[in-house]
């Protein structure tokens, strides 16, 4: 899977289907709604055009919204994620260390770096997601707990997916 024209569409399809058909239907006590699909955005090449990343994030979010009948919800959160991604990337890594098409993946960054990078972005994404979803602050603490627990589970899920698929290569 070296060819990017094959790799990214395949990854997109696998993650979107897993999210839309399996993860969205999981009910973990009403607090935890993992959104592992954002791994697709996290793993786009570090030095890819920022506007293109944002457009892809928008389309990914919109596809997820299509499954869950939540037009604009995941799209908005994913666009925010893509907007802050360059900042977070330069916060934890030196973008200059990455080759033209290299990703911030487990092999490149190590487990610690990858977890930090993932968790910060997941937290931002989930904060937007859950506040967009309620659009009111009356259940503030409930929403806050949802954000924290879901972020932990999403990060864990992403880590599991990444570990399973990186051993194969």
């Amino acid at each position: 899977m070296k060819n990017p024209w094959f790799k990214y569409p395949f990854r997109f399809l696998a993650l979107v289907l897993a999210q839309g058909l399996v993860l969205n239907n999981m009910n973990l006590g009403g607090y935890i709604h993992p959104a592992v699909y954002i791994l697709f955005i996290l793993l786009l090449p570090v030095r890819m055009n920022k506007n293109l990343v944002m457009l892809l994030a928008f389309l990914t979010g919109l596809t997820i919204d299509f499954f869950g009948n939540t037009p604009g919800l995941h799209a908005g959160a994913s666009v925010l994620l893509a907007f802050v991604r360059p900042v977070v990337l330069s916060l934890f890594f030196k973008p200059i260390d990455f080759g033209k098409n290299e990703e911030a993946n487990l092999k490149k960054t190590g487990v610690g770096g990858f977890v930090r990078y993932t968790f910060v972005l997941v937290l931002i994404h989930h904060s937007a997601l859950f506040f967009f979803e309620t659009l009111d602050f009356s259940n503030f603490y409930f929403t806050l707990i949802q954000i924290l627990l879901s972020s932990l589970v999403t990060t864990l899920g992403i880590l599991v997916v990444v570990m399973v698929f990186s051993t194969k290569k």
Partner: protein, 270 residues
Amino acid sequence: MYNLLAFFWKYRFFAFFVLLEVVSLWLLSNSYSYHKSLRFNAVNDATGNLFSSYNNVASYFSLRKENEKLLAENALLRNSLPSSFLITDTAFTFTDSLYHYLPARVLSNSVNKRNNFILVNKGWVHGVEKEMGVISGQGIAGIVIGTSKHYSSIMSVLHQNSRISGRIKKNKQLVTVVWNGQNYSEGLVSDIPSHIRLQRGDTIVTSGNSLIFPEGIVIGTVTEQRIPENKSLGEATLVFGTDFNGLQHVYLIKNKMKPEQDSLVNGYLN
């Protein structure tokens, strides 16, 4: 002009970000109003087909549970057959049916979001229309908000904009049932007159005022009432009759008199 263009070009990343967020929030705001979501038809046959083939496999895992539910419902229906009643009054007659029930299979459903939707395998070719009521064997489930040729999308009772006009079964008082977004099995009964005391287990049924649901369909049973201190209207929690998490079969209800009732109401509103 050139300066303006140069300005936007310089901050094009931020401008693009704002643009995409505005589009997202505009889409989102369309889905947060009941009337707008009626206009914004979110179903189409492509996603419907995908969910349908997924459901073909997944539905086998709960056949036993589903059979038991259907059995219980059959018993209930047999009890309401005319032949189950002792008819001594010769004036007992049948009138034209007012409501037509259309069975449908649930293809996708959620309970864990703030706004939940149900997708079913009946569309406008089967006679489904927007604003038809949807019930399960155990109680109300939602309202149709969009139809495609073979599928329709239902706004679940578990939705921010869902406000069901209900009635306390024992004393016929009107109340409103909403969902506060936390537990999928619990709803909130609001607008309870302050002199009304509810007991655990009191049934709340549909009022029949909305033209969407027939009168007397179970919404749920009361678990706890919060007596208001100075407000005139109180609240109570209720457990929904419908098990939203295990929803597999529903009935869509067509009110045959709705066009006539609607035109009457619109007549005096205009």
